[in-house]
Assembly symmetry: C2
Homo-oligomer: 395 residues x 2
């Protein structure tokens, strides 16, 4: 727990770096004939999407479930992550007999556009220059991410998804899927999310971006080409963000004011408290698996997300005439996407006449609850998918 | 709103720097005969305290009110700040006819130990080396700050303070005053504070410290001697902290998702949103008036604060037999020092049999409410001080 950023082995960075172009995943590449139209007004071409699948697509191609990952997630939802060597981010949720059951469903998880795990992002090689894109990659949006995913779903020969499921930024993608492609989404499950990013959330993202861009090793975004790495800035960004993923009470329960391997205060700026040591560790571990420019791009995509804005400022219009069935989940101690954000979506869905259920789960685990052992979330997910499967004749 | 840190005039830094040793304030210097005993186990000598006073001490020396400032405050509570040129941090509260009435009370405000506005801190010259202390200054605690203040009060010839008043870290000092010198405090008013720093608050401070220490211009704390300035790190630290001083709803009310001087998203990492522009401005302005090492010291003092720990883990013991009367105030939207923190102090005071009143003020302004136009806070303060004055025969 006490390694400093500067001691992080370069090999970890190198490992992560290799995933950007040559991931340990399936890849689909879209050539010049299939450019990706971006909200920024330009086109991206060629580009690639890295993805994982679990389970088997049935003959009717009707049992596909798309998982959308959060800010720093990736396509490795339910397999060992090739960079960290740790279980996938949703291995509690996805697997044989688990709520998102790999024995029943064909589950797809792709890395988002702008990411760093194999889908085109700022650390990918720009074919025009032979150098990593850096900031030459246009800024992307949640809608761009979803547009790219729809091309992957086309490629997989799937007309309609049984369900699209995701938490946090993943939930934003779920909402965007339902708005952009209502006929392709039978059931949508946005968890711990909202239809737009709040001022406070934008503020936290801006702190993270400023921390990265303040690091001299960021080099105006050209650190990969110049052989540096803005580790310290990225680590600080992660530390600041990490606090927002937990609740005050979960931090208190986990750490309180307990000291780290010492009997008293050292009267120094060492990590005296366990919570300091934990945070430093979180920052350092993140640097080994995530690209700093990707952090800029993906946070920016979340900040720009405002679904109602694309529909004349009326969120209900985003879901007008939809036949998609929705299930929303929020967590009582989530202050990043508080229940009010989910309720606003529920109200819009009600106004649009969409079938919607909503559960607020009582937990002290904060925003991160969607990634953790949360039996009520598991039960809700299982029930919702089971119901969708029965309604569509999936065994 | 769009200046960048690097464009900040050096003159601002120079101005702030000069205050460390030669402030625009009264100073009292304690020589080798009066060393300050520190909780770190060492002594500080010589040292100086910079302070401001407002109003006139009465003949009975019974109308003195001590104001304790918060993390980044200073002694300039009710006069134009010599560095920023702006009104003092509590000019709404302190003045002729105001709740803390300069026509009635003799009001003292001193810069805290570890600060950068004239009381000995890391940017002060170390007489042993002729260079700024930097990290050679021992880490100080809230109790050390209060011990130093008690020496100032001695110097001013005041036996007993009519009241000690302060918010946030100032409130911690108020509690420490009441615990350390009960016979010297007739009335104590801790606002928006707690008897110990929570894990979440320690976590936020640690992010700020890491941001500063990650800045290569910090130079291991020797930036003043080496002629650099960790502006970027300090700016990021301030941005992260500033969010915690406001509430989600006040940020929403002030900024929402409004754009800054533009009609649409720029698809860049500029400050598109007003809240981003505001935060950058807050970070930049802070760099011009505050010392990075002081930020480390003063946040550390808050983190170490745990009043009960000095009294066998029982907070009530800190106030055993006290005759001080207390008035606590919290704010509904303050998530840094939520009402529960004040209630814990109230319970301890009840257990100690101390006279205590408590008010939770309904406001959406967050932690910063104690510094803002908050009529209910003004009324409570006026009433509490008036009652203390009447009880002690102050006109």
């Amino acid at each position: 727990m006490s390694i400093s950023v500067s001691e992080l082995p370069d090999s970890a960075i190198t490992l992560a770096r290799a995933e950007a172009d040559h991931p340990h995943s399936a890849i689909v590449t879209f050539g010049p004939d299939r450019p990706l139209k971006l909200d920024a007004g330009t086109e991206l071409s060629p580009f690639q999407i890295a993805y994982q699948t679990y389970g088997t697509l049935n003959a009717a191609r009707s049992n596909a479930v798309l998982l959308c990952h959060a800010l720093t997630g990736d396509q490795h939802a339910a397999n060992i992550n090739p960079v960290t060597g740790k279980p996938g981010w949703w291995e509690t949720m996805v697997g044989p007999g688990k709520p998102i059951d790999t024995e029943r469903f064909f589950i797809i998880a792709s890395n988002v556009l702008g990411g760093c795990m194999g889908t085109t992002g700022p650390s990918s090689l720009n074919p025009a220059t032979g150098q990593p894109y850096g900031l030459d990659l246009p800024v992307v949006t949640i809608r761009d991410m979803v547009r790219a995913q729809s091309m992957l779903i086309d490629h997989l020969g799937i007309e309609r998804l049984l369900a699209v499921v995701g938490g946090s930024m993943g939930g934003m993608q779920v909402l965007q899927w339902a708005a952009s492609y209502p006929e392709r989404v039978f059931a949508a499950m946005p968890i711990a999310t909202g239809a737009r990013h709040s001022a406070q959330n934008i503020a936290y993202h801006e702190v993270g971006r400023q921390a990265i861009m303040a690091d001299p090793d960021w080099r105006g975004g050209r650190y990969l080409a110049e052989g540096t790495s803005p580790r310290r800035g990225l680590s600080v960004a992660r530390m600041a963000a990490h606090i927002t993923y937990m609740s005050d009470s979960s931090l208190h329960r986990k750490f309180g004011r307990r000291l780290q391997d010492r009997d008293g205060h050292t009267f120094s700026f060492d990590a005296d408290f366990q919570v300091e040591s934990y945070l430093r560790y979180q920052g350092e571990a993140f640097v080994g698996r995530f690209d700093a420019n990707s952090y800029l791009y993906v946070t920016r995509a979340m900040d720009y997300f405002d679904l109602a804005a694309d529909y004349g400022g009326v969120l209900a219009n985003a879901f007008k005439g939809t036949k998609t069935r929705f299930c929303l989940v929020s967590f009582t101690s989530d202050w990043l996407f508080p229940t009010a954000d989910s309720r606003a979506v529920v109200h819009a869905l009600n106004a649009a006449g969409a079938p919607v259920s909503f559960a607020e789960v009582e937990t002290d685990k904060g925003h991160d609850a969607f990634l953790l052992e949360e039996p009520e979330l598991f039960a809700i997910t299982r029930g919702f998918l089971d119901s969708a499967a029965r309604a569509t004749g999936v065994a």
